[in-house]
Amino acid sequence: MRFPRLQRQTLTLVAVIIPLLFLFIYVALRSGPLAPIAVTVSTVESRPIAPALAGMGTVQARFTYKIGPTVAGRVKRLDVHVGDTVKAGQVLGEMDAVDLDDRISAQQAAIKSSEATLRQAAAKEAFAQTQASRYEQLLSVRGTSEETVVTKRQELAVASAVLAASREDIVRLRAELEALRAQRGNLRLVAPVAGLVAVRDADPGTTVVAGQAVVEVIDTASLWVDTRFDQISAEGLATGRPAKIVLRSRRSQGVAGHVLRIEPRADAVTEETLAKIAFDAPPVPLPPLGELAEVTVQLGELPAAPTISNAAIRTVDGQRGVWTLVDGGLTFTPVVLGRSSLDGLVQVVKGLSVGEQVVLYSEKALSAKSRIHIVERLPGVTP
């Protein structure tokens, strides 16, 4: 009766010990440095890629009109406020005329007085004319002396000269009046183009110096994005390329635009290339000037070539390459990379051919002797 009991004990003991041993062996081989490294593989495919460039910029107006007086003076009135839309030729405000109106009145009076003088001169000249012609006739019938006729002629010449002087005087006074009126007109601040009032620097009563801007008007049709591209990734940037502009305040929607020009001067300090990106149609509502925008410039689609994900690229001993799977073993293959797209695809110029298997993701750094374990998705990564 002892024997079966002992066997049962032994069996139970074995039932405990054996799983423990298996667990131990599993643990020893499947964890720590002895465990195979989980990797995922991908196949080199031939596909066309559409490279694009990403840059950052701020919204700016291409044309900004700073409107102010041409002479020093005081602002009399200002009819527009920031945010108002204005038409071309619209009067935005006026400078104080001070004594200009009085001077115009004085000038007008002077013209009238001059006209009176002109009439007087004309009367005198007409009389001198009459006298002169009468004495001419008298002289022809010897009814007067030669000397009297000469006197009358001289009087006529003087009267004509006075008349001419009076006429010119009126012209001068009228011109002066025009000048005053022009100055008077110049005191009005007029919008040169249709646009939007962006800045109002002075209020009525403020004294401003000649040339100081009182109001700034921007041409809303000329908004562009002053964009900076990192030089290292600015290959292929060209005028006319379509671009997508995402304003910081409207992250969900992109606005269409295009590269208007690439600045001939780059930023040497920040190692960036500068470019101007114009909106295809002005965005509604208008973004504020200075707003940050993300710009993506689409470059032309490249012809199909062997393509890998940039996550497959590794650096081993200073060489850039990929781990290829050859007969289940790992081989490091140096590659020469071509252009890449923003979604992480890179064309391989040299080193790989279509259909080769490369390691895409790996848990840790690989070496040629690494034991690997190919999985669909690495542990811990949620789809």
Partner: protein, 400 residues
């Protein structure tokens, strides 16, 4: 010949196994503690491995960029790049900060990586999902330990970054997971003040008569612009050409550029020897105490197991069993106990390791050393029990 030890174990196997498991849990804790220490050292080493650099160029007389702060101009890499033996030089910034995602925030080390292509020094050497950064701004590659997922939007300072790739085991020397972002963004994150601070600074500058002169329009703007711009990075990572030695390349930089340069060995010395020295000693102290406690407990257990069957041993002696056989029985039992304990300990340590917030590295060499130590402790512990067993008087078997 029958195995006395085996028969005895079978006789009370339940008690024996449970004692073994209890001992195993204790050994598991000890192994885990060793793993914690190894993990700390490994954190430092992977940090250096992942940077992909052979030399670290930092501000003169600092232990930067990991152990101390270091700040150097961001155009310095150009002059370093031209030195003989330099294959690649790349700017990098490191900043440990809280990064927000939704309501929560995580402590991470934000790494600013120089623009370029994957494989540039400082870039994550491999990913577990997603892709590397392709845009020059507002993209991030995050370590999986942050809890971020592909497509998540994370807030760093005032900007939002989209997570496009995930890494594993990319941590700082203190175990904080890394988040890689483009260098220009990182410079901003590191040196840009918050909006309120900028406004206050602007106001202060405006109030300063020296800068705000009515006769010099534009001066104020220039001063403010100069205050807000930043052209610094923390270090330049240098990869050297294979035919040069790190010393050869480092010497001219040290001498002529008047900067401090560290090679891999020196950097490891800084990280392991200086940065984590105190915490490592703390762990080591704890490990020693745990080992002593484990040894004492093993000794007690074997002693009690022997004392439990002191009457049976007396009987054995009475029937003329040789001392060697009795000693062998006790020793074998102690060794089996040790082996069960080690197996259980190794298993529990392995399954417990991933639950720790920081990395726990269980190396095979630690396991082997642990195994040997457990056996030695068992042998030593059984010596006391054997002495007790041999001294027992056979008369006790009948006397009681």
């Amino acid at each position: 010949m029958i195995s006395l030890a085996g028969r005895d174990i079978l006789h009370a196997w339940g008690k024996f196994i449970f004692t073994g498991i209890g001992l195993g849990l204790l050994i598991g804790v000890t192994l885990t503690m060793a793993g914690v220490y190894r993990g700390m050292v490994d954190d430092g080493k992977v940090l250096l491995d992942n940077s992909g650099a052979n030399l670290w160029v930092v501000q003169k007389d600092t232990l930067g960029p990991y152990a101390e702060s270091s700040s150097i101009p961001d155009d310095l890499w150009r002059s370093i790049r031209t030195l003989p033996g330099v294959a690649e030089a790349a700017n990098v910034t490191y900043l440990t900060m809280q990064v927000g995602r939704g309501q929560k925030d995580v402590r991470v080390m934000v790494v600013g990586i120089a623009a370029g292509e994957p494989g540039t020094s400082g870039w994550p050497p491999q990913l577990v999902a997603g892709r590397q950064i392709t845009r020059g701004h507002y993209e991030a590659v995050a370590d999986i330990a942050t809890g971020f997922r592909l497509g998540d939007e994370v807030n760093i300072r005032r900007n939002r970054y989209t997570v496009v790739g995930l890494t594993r085991r990319m941590v700082s020397s203190s175990g904080d997971p890394m988040v890689f972002i483009p260098l220009k963004d990182a410079q901003e994150a590191q040196f840009l003040k918050d909006n309120d601070a900028i406004l206050m600074q602007r106001r202060r500058t405006e109030a300063n008569r020296a800068f705000n002169r009515p006769a010099v329009p534009g001066l104020l703007d220039a001063v403010i612009a100069s205050q807000t711009s930043n052209n610094s990075v923390n270090a330049v990572l240098v990869r050297i050409q294979p035919e040069y030695s790190p010393r050869e390349v480092a010497e001219p930089i040290r001498r002529w550029k008047r900067l401090t340069v560290y090679d891999r060995a020196q950097m490891e010395e800084i990280l392991v020897g200086k940065l984590i020295a105190t915490s490592a000693r703390q762990i080591a102290m704890f490990l020693v105490i745990l080992a002593v406690v484990s040894a004492a407990i093993v000794a007690f257990i074997i002693y009690t197991l022997t004392m439990d069957k002191i009457r049976e041993i007396a009987v054995l002696k009475l029937i003329g069993t040789r001392n060697r056989t009795i000693a062998g029985m006790i020793l074998q039992q102690a060794l089996v106990l040790g082996v069960i304990g080690f197996v259980v300990g190794k298993i529990t340590a392995t399954f417990a390791a991933p639950l720790f917030p920081k990395y726990v590295l269980l190396t095979p060499i630690d396991s082997i050393l642990g195994f040997v130590a457990v056996l030695v402790i068992c042998v030593l512990a059984s010596i006391v029990a054997i002495r007790m067993a041999l001294k027992v008087d056979p008369a006790e078997a009948i006397g009681g």
